[in-house]
Symmetry: C2
Subunit: 409 residues, 2 copies
């Protein structure tokens, strides 16, 4: 069982990970923003934001982990079980402050109080935080930063997310790589799907095969962050036959039957970045109604993709797919907007939604997935990942979209 | 590929799921609590709490989903893509109120305002909520309930969690079942582990085999909730050789070598309930130091398990394992408390921690996992799941704990 063993090839490619220098540049941009606001200190709580800024991945638990950016330097406040882990992962860390445990005899916030007021001697009026205090997660309870320190913290909950909305060229490379392995895993999913098979069985097998390909073919270029059990996934999530009528169905151990409409999903984790690929497929030749609804869905997705581009309102992209559905007489089957931002989380702002006031800008990445749902028959939704470029868009997921390619016989 | 196909056996066993009647009893208990507080209305936002009370499982997104308990009746406020899903899953639902989308041209909270003030005509002073408003998740932003409705909501963030701390007999059965499949998957993990294998490969294979057993052997008794891709998992999470020094290491695609200390993990999802099983294992015969530290860890776990029981302080259980570590001269290698509550989330309160003021009560379920960590050598931690009974405790994970059973040659 020597499969997946790393070889000894040295690689200078970075399409599968980011370097500490890259994180330092992000931090520098954040520090410049803070300086513009005349702020000296910023506390970050959200694990994806901490990973985005420093490359530190960790398991969030009841024990608060806080990134402290102070006078341009990077420090952490962590429980004792993460001290060495932080030093191991973040080469440019300045200080790792710690507390033993939560709840412990002295609450972590009492340690934080001492560090913020004594060791760092924060300047009143020049301190900011992503949240009023550490989030209540897995049983954590604690006072707010203001109650603990007596200082007023400027709340900047969106500052890091604002940075994350526009993807850097290096991040777009990660997303392209993610789309590539989503496509591969989906190929296995389609191949394994047959009448009588169970969705859970097919999901696990396809994800195993896609992950195996990804890890072996990338070799030393594979840099897992520990966020995902499967490097690549391709799955059914209960959207099988009549159950695919539920846009957010959940895996129920369903078995494929002739005539089923299927909606799939696939992605892969490339240094915390996730693409999105979904396909509508049919078990056997589709009926007239299945074909009609498939065509309406394709028309809506095409309309949205043709409308999208730099300077275009997100609302106009949603309007384009709605108009196409209207032309096909299926507006009553629509249950959700056209798409959402993509990056490190499952969905991110902005949204391709008639209510959005955002404008598409180069570097933004979206899912495009207008869908329609007919009771008794099922769901009709493709999802593709696209990036906004200087002069248009580029669709990153390359899996075939046409009906002939998606019929399973 | 007919494996995992469900048969036609009708089963009346409920050790693998809960019934709508069970959820109705939970709701009744909650309604009684609300009446004691002279409250008429309670809004629940947290997805695990909604599942606990109603059996509704769903994918949380940017679109708020709210359980509304009003005058003893159960209603939901959901986006259009979940309307039919709710009716399908919750047979006793009274009303499914909905909005189309987020952000949409009218914000969901404007729809909620109308429903709460006009349709339900909430009584000022008799309304409560789990949180000030819907959580900022995946890009959602919105005003607080108070800002939207003008009503003061009593905040009861812990009321449902207070119910969840003491497990009902039916829930203890789910946990026993979960422990059984964790044990099974772990057996495969140990069998597949060998010098030169990659942790990701072994993790996926063991989880696939354990899940396959669980789904086929349970047959119609298998009731997936859609929360987990693998019904059963057994994994390495980077705690291999020197890297096992990090108590919360993350999967890095490491390869097993002779002499490695390993720390594993296993669980299974039985109707949303998760047990916890971890074992320290050795690649080949352990060194004198590995044996010493293993023995210290076993002494600490034994001390904690012997101390635990109804009426005992959580702090005293932690103190017992700390005392054992002290006797072995390894207090300096301790990085965390002895354990945490278990149920539907990874960790839950209460904690087996010297700072806890909680007392163990019959029906509480905990992990017992005192650990020590030596730089360069690795981590030493077993984790077992136990339930507090009327007259002691019962350990639910049955996997061998002794060193001889955990050496891989």
């Amino acid at each position: 069982m020597r499969a997946w063993t790393h070889g000894f090839t040295v690689s200078f490619m970075t399409r599968t990970h980011l370097t500490p220098d890259h994180h330092k540049k992000r931090l520098q941009r954040l520090v410049e923003k803070l300086e513009e606001l005349n702020l000296e200190t910023f506390l970050v709580f959200k694990s994806t934001n901490i990973f985005y800024l420093t490359g530190l991945s960790f398991i969030p638990t009841e024990r608060p982990i806080i990134l402290i950016i102070h006078k341009g330097e990077v420090s952490f406040f962590v429980p004792s079980l993460e001290i060495d882990h932080v030093e191991h992962q973040v080469p440019f860390v300045e200080n790792v402050y710690s507390y033993f445990e939560f709840p412990d005899e002295q609450h972590p916030m009492q340690h934080l109080r001492r560090i913020l007021l004594k060791e760092l001697a924060l300047s009143p009026g020049r301190v900011a935080s992503e949240a009023p205090g550490a989030p209540s997660y897995w049983g954590y309870k604690g006072e707010s930063l203001e109650d603990v320190t007596g200082l007023k913290f400027n709340l900047l909950p969106e500052t890091v997310m604002d940075m994350r909305v526009i993807k850097e060229p290096e991040e777009i490379e990660l997303m392209k790589e993610s789309a590539k392995w989503a496509d591969r895993a989906h190929k296995y999913l389609q191949e394994l799907t047959e009448v009588g098979a169970n969705e859970i069985d097919v999901t696990i097998k396809a994800s195993t095969m896609g992950s195996h390909d990804m890890v072996t073919e990338l070799g030393d270029d594979y840099h897992p962050t520990g966020f995902s059990m499967f490097p690549a996934i391709a799955l059914y999530r209960g959207q099988i036959g009549p159950n695919s009528f539920f846009p957010h169905a959940l895996s129920r151990g369903l078995v494929f039957s002739k005539g089923d409409t299927l909606v799939t999903g696939a992605s892969s984790d490339v240094y915390g970045v996730h693409s999105e690929l979904e396909r509508t497929m049919f078990m056997g030749d589709p009926s007239r109604r299945q074909k009609e609804l498939f065509e309406a869905m394709m028309a809506a997705q095409n309309a949205a993709l043709e409308t999208a581009g730099p300077g275009v309102y997100c609302s106009d992209v949603d309007r384009a797919s709605r108009d196409a559905f209207k032309k096909h007489g299926v507006s009553n089957l629509v249950r959700h907007h056209t798409g959402h931002g993509l990056g490190m989380e499952g969905h991110e702002r902005p949204f391709l939604d008639i209510g959005s006031e955002d404008v598409l800008e180069p570097g933004m990445i979206f899912s495009c997935e207008p869908g329609i749902y007919e009771r008794g028959l099922g769901g009709f939704r493709h999802s593709d990942t696209f990036v906004v470029t200087e002069d248009g868009i580029e669709v990153l997921t390359k899996y075939p979209r046409d009906i002939e390619s998606l019929i399973i016989n």
